[in-house]
Amino acid sequence: MAVVRRISFAKAIAEALDYEMAKDKRVVVIGEDVGKYGGIYGATAGLYEKYGEDRVVDTPIAESGFIGTAIGAAATGLLRPVAELMFIDFFGVTMDQIYNQAAKMRYMFGGKAKVSMVIRTPCGAGFSAAAQHSQSLHAIFTHVPGLKVVMPSTPYDVKGLLISSIEDDDPVIFIEHKGLYALEGEVPEEPYSIPLGEADVKREGRDVTIVATAAMVHKSLDVANKLEKDGISVEVVDPRSLVPLDEDLIVESIKKTGRLVVVDEGYPRASFATDIAAIAASKCFKDLKAPVKLVTPPATPIPFSPALESEWIPSAEKIEKAVREIL
């Protein structure tokens, strides 16, 4: 009998890591403060005590060095590292290793290399962490061929997707929204995997499709529940992985409802939102009954003051307004 408990998103991550480390001794964790500290969001809690300092490695503040180390170890096939990049905003100091090295090794070497590794990294605003600790930069990774990009929204999804990501033979950028770590939800105790590339309909509806990622999934569900009282039926689709992308399910939903709102915390230009809009325009043109609406932050850095930050983050009001405008 499967045991299902309510646990937090962070605990679900730690469970997935624990399961993989127990199963395969090549799975190792590396990053800043991932050891005794347990990761600044507690996602590696308990691993250091259980697996020791050889397999849970605290590193200097040298992101290019330790992510490059993880890449080299993966390329030899001797290890399957899970690196933690403390904030996605820090990608700038290690991006060469991610997009020129990990992403391209397999292709450049004619299919001979396997870079089996995961980079876990928190994203997201809402904590007055200002411009360099609050961004949602998934589109940058989605842009570069050779990286898989996963962005879960629930404790159940994060456990299953992290297990799949660690067992995947390609480099996976695993993005965790900071606002979700404390979120509790039902998670089976036993291990399970959710295949990369399968979107999930979080709520079925008839009138409008909302495609939303990470924390925006929950905000969109709140709006959908509210609008239901007004007789508006909203479908909420969570892609869960951005690369690979479950285009079929997204297209199917847009064709059913004929209306699309994309809600995403990434910057507006050349973004995940515009990407989904482009799919709608090129594959669902005749099915669309109204213009596609994009609900994103403005193209500004993220401000510190809560008064400004809350204006920056896509709000339930803005999502509701977008839905109502195309009905």
């Binding site: 180390t69 993880a70 080299g72 390329a75 030899t76 096939g77 070497f109 299919g111 001979k112 690979p244």
Partner: protein, 334 residues
Amino acid sequence: MAVEEISKEKLLWMYETMVKIRVHEERVAELFAQGKIGGFVHLYVGEEAVATGVMANLKKEDFITSTHRGHGHYIAKGGDIKASMAELFGKREGACKGKGGSMHIADLDVGELGANGIVGGGIPHAVGAGWGIKLNGLDNVAVAFFGDGASNQQNFHEGINMAAILKLPVIFVCENNLYQISLSYSKQQRIKSVAERAKAYGIPGASVDGQDVLAVYEVAKEAVERARRGEGPSLIEARTYRFRGHFEGDPQVYRTKEEIQWWKENKDPIKLFEKVLLEKNILTEKEVSSILEKAKNEVEAAVKFAEEGKLPDKKSLLEDVFSTPTKGVLVWQW
């Protein structure tokens, strides 16, 4: 190191390897000039003793990471030159199926983790290989090759520091050829030798004449043995010189013809080693000629193989991006 302390077999391997690299690189220069090879090509002529002296201490199971000037490392590590030549020609029989070219040749079967188009980019990969070796309880080592320019890069600092902290079996070999493209070494850093930086990481460092293969062999031997014993990483600076430009087509306005000539006449690593081997009666003049002949034949066979190879199938453009197949769209085409 005195030649008497090294087996004849190893000495001959070193000489043959250096000659093979030289013949290979000079032939590639010709093919490039004829327009048969395109792209950016950085040749190893003049630096042969460094790769050879280091690799003489390695096993097939040891790993190396290479650089944009990587043909010498590939050959000395035991890479197949037919496959690499076909790669330079962009053919499907190439080491990377024509997708990598000169700057990305790799042969994982012999532990060659790849040339690299980004200066310093491969340094942490050798650290990762060393980490994998250590955690798996193996007695192998990993060697990172890089140039003087890379020693100013973040990956040099972060990679060596990481290897030092974790006490990994990694040897960092700086091929200081005195120029970072056009900028001379003395204008890049205040210290006299890159090896001085070892002190900053708490590891041994040594500077060696990179034109003397026996000296390189000796210094690398100590570092490799130390790493195999589990005593951690070392940094070696091999002072060397590239006889050709940074890349083929480099106008070389930053150095004089006289300077290049001086190095060719006085510090040619093959001529210097040949002299020792002849003096010690390890080689005869006749053997010198036959080794050169053999290298030429081998390189010509590789050129023939490459010329007769097929161009890649256009379908292969979309292949080899990912390893694990999935349900959703992975390789996008609108």
